[in-house]
Symmetry: C2
Subunit: 437 residues, 2 copies
């Protein structure tokens, strides 16, 4: 059972005033982790925890000697330049640091004056990837996405027979993962137009985003030893937002028989903050499947997974075009969906990934796959939203989009919000398409 504890109490307030504002992602109930330093400096990156519009600098906190015991050990690891060692320590350790931070940051905390010396304004920070990501695996967990995209790539056969049995996934590229703010040039490569006889070398004309949840593995497993579904969540550190950029024209030509490759590996961009699974506890949902669908094999099934396997995590994608920037108008939202639409849960992904003995390491990343919902407006990729480029989206400012144009900035956000609970959020991942080199 996923239990709530004092850190989840919705009535908790922080002495950091901005953490108490109703719209903030970073209330005291959240306490997400990142690797940061002061912008424009040569400082070492170190771990930080967001609170309101501030960051608790964990390296600075470490020098205060305030925490001891398990929280102190956790702090030593979390203060490093990457969170891998902290992630590998396991959930009791993560929890000890969270509890200590929650207590230190509450209104009336006796440590307030010491903690105040450890704050850095988010406005002054820059971020690195929070972990060294050894392997990146991308799943395909939204059946709506699988149907939408399948109907474009294989009109006669959109949903393959394995989809409802196997949490389909494949390995992505770790070298080209980067953190929010990392822009990239439009990729070039081999493209064959549907009506052409032969392929050509060209810049992608069908560049797209994919709105995904990123899942960071905490404690790893030994090669050869599967993680059972009942233990799977113990190995999950937390979630982020992931934009898995995709060149659809390359993908269509290259992806058979071994899957997407150059269509995806030029760039994937991650939000800097990791929201821990512990913070997400109040927003867990049950996981069900239509009775007429195949039910999961035993190794993918458990009572806890059915009762609390899902996450009510809202996901949104926005576009800011060059014109919007020039005219000073706000980005416009072009997709709003929820991780709860996932056909497979995070625990099922972890159990499946390791059932053959494959070893996950601390800091490894799983992508949920594009998290489209069932309805129009809930698509997590332009190719779905525009029906394969046939129905352009009206951006409302005189611009239309089928696929992304140079200068388009894509912004993705994720947050949890329910009546009677404190909102927590992930912040955003933002990145701009630059012209081809």
């Amino acid at each position: 059972m996923i239990m709530l504890n004092e850190t989840h109490d919705p009535s908790l307030q922080s002495w950091v005033a901005s953490a108490n504002e109703s719209g903030t992602d970073f209330s005291i109930q959240n306490l997400p982790f990142a690797a940061f330093r002061r912008q424009g400096t040569d400082e070492a990156f170190r771990g930080g925890v967001a609170i309101g519009d501030q960051i608790v600098d964990l390296a600075a906190l470490q020098t205060t000697g305030l925490y001891d015991g398990l929280a102190g050990k956790a702090l030593d690891a979390a203060a490093e330049s990457r969170l891998n060692r902290f992630m590998d320590m396991g959930k009791e350790t993560w929890s000890a640091l969270r509890l200590a931070l929650s207590r230190s940051l509450r209104e009336g905390a006796s440590e307030q004056s010491q903690l105040e010396t450890c704050l850095v304004a988010q406005a002054d920070a820059e971020y690195a990837l929070p972990a060294q990501i050894g392997d990146y695996t991308d799943f395909y967990a939204s059946i709506h996405h699988a149907r939408n995209i399948g109907s474009l790539f294989r009109p006669d056969n959109p949903l393959l027979p394995n989809y409802q049995w196997v949490p389909i996934g494949y390995h992505g590229r770790s070298s080209s993962l980067d953190v929010s703010g990392a822009d990239f040039p439009r990729p070039c490569g081999q493209i064959k137009a549907p009506d052409a006889d032969i392929p050509v070398y060209a810049a992608s004309k069908r560049l797209d985003y994919e709105l995904e949840v990123g899942i960071y593995i905490g404690k790893g497993n030994k090669q050869g030893q599967a993680i059972t579904i009942d233990k799977a969540e113990d190995h999950v550190f937390g979630l982020c937002v992931l934009n898995d950029w995709s060149a659809r024209d390359m993908q269509a030509w290259e992806y058979q028989p071994l899957g997407p490759f150059l269509a995806k590996n030029f760039a994937s961009t991650l939000s800097p903050w990791i929201i821990t699974t512990e913070a997400l506890a109040p927003f867990r949902t049950n996981w069900t499947r239509p009775e007429e669908d195949p039910q999961p094999l035993d190794y993918l099934d458990s009572d806890q997974n059915r009762q609390q396997g899902g996450f009510d995590l809202k996901l949104e994608v926005l576009i800011e075009t060059k014109k919007m920037r020039n005219e000073g108008t706000a980005p416009i939202s072009i997709g709003l969906t929820n991780f709860d639409y996932s056909y497979w849960t995070v625990a099922q992904m972890v159990a499946h990934h390791t059932v053959n003995g494959c070893n996950l390491r601390a800091g490894d990343l799983l992508g949920s796959g594009t998290m489209s919902g069932p309805d129009t407006g809930q698509e997590g990729a332009l190719i779905e939203r525009t029906r394969g480029g046939k129905e352009p989206v009206d951006l409302g400012n005189g611009e239309m989009r089928t696929f992304l144009e140079d200068g388009d900035k894509v912004i993705m956000r994720a947050w949890c919000e329910q009546d009677g609970k404190r909102r927590i959020g992930l912040g955003s991942v933002e990145s701009t398409v630059l012209p081809k080199l």
Copy 2:
């Protein structure tokens, strides 16, 4: 142009007598790199260079202070526990260290007495992966393999239309790569028999090897900046032998639409030694393609690639069953092929991989894909050799094999041998299938 230099002179002899034996893989013309330590000790792993049946301990050599200039800088990096920093220094640096070692190890070298203090017998050594492999990409570069396997998975459509245009590749798993000698349990997972209505959880019954060449990236490229085919070889450090174990029953059920995943990521095993591309210079071959086949797009084509893009590198796979071990009989050879059968060259793989801006890092690994040749006996996987399991292989000792059984050790070897040239080889990769856990 790939040039020969004094290190390639076939008349060179070493003062290490075992390096001058005609059958050795590790003649003075070879000088391959590994990461090693004395077996059963807690010593740190460090770089080593094979010569005959000995290893030059590069950390010990470093303490002699014998090398300076570029060779000295190269040695400092190559002596580390992993070769990544050395690999990232580029081919002039690799070449400087090779030349210095060749001169020090020649008959009559004045440094003989100092070098002698740096030798460790290979019989006393154990190995680690020679590099931290950030990303592992597996290609599919033998058209014979693609046709063989395609005809089993897609009888109506064995060779897909993109094959002769695109060097097809996909991302593999880096966490489960390990070095020769690392055994692994038979993987379990989801399997659907062709005549069954639904899948079951079971141990793989169709466990197979794949005989591949592993290609280590040396100097990497910056994200966004393609490596052109003319520069591609400058980024390749060297080659090894790779066994990309495959569970064919899992593969058949899971691989559509995103490619192989659990069928491959439970284990891949690498030979400890990396044979440098410089050492392989005398064995380069021209690369041609049947006139009736599509010719490569410009970004995959160059004069040098046509003249010297290939490698005459022989590849062999052998099986040693439990019965053979019990009876003290030698492993038997069940496949003999050559990297020269590749439909795509290493330079084409590198140029293609980066054409979209994907960044390669020092120590990254490319697999060639199963390197089957056109004829019977040249298959690099059992599924091909046994025509999908329908024609068992007779091992000649009363045993037959369709797929691998528990206790089977698979041994792969690679070497270059031509009249008038000194043989150089890679040693072997060996690993045993253990019973499922």
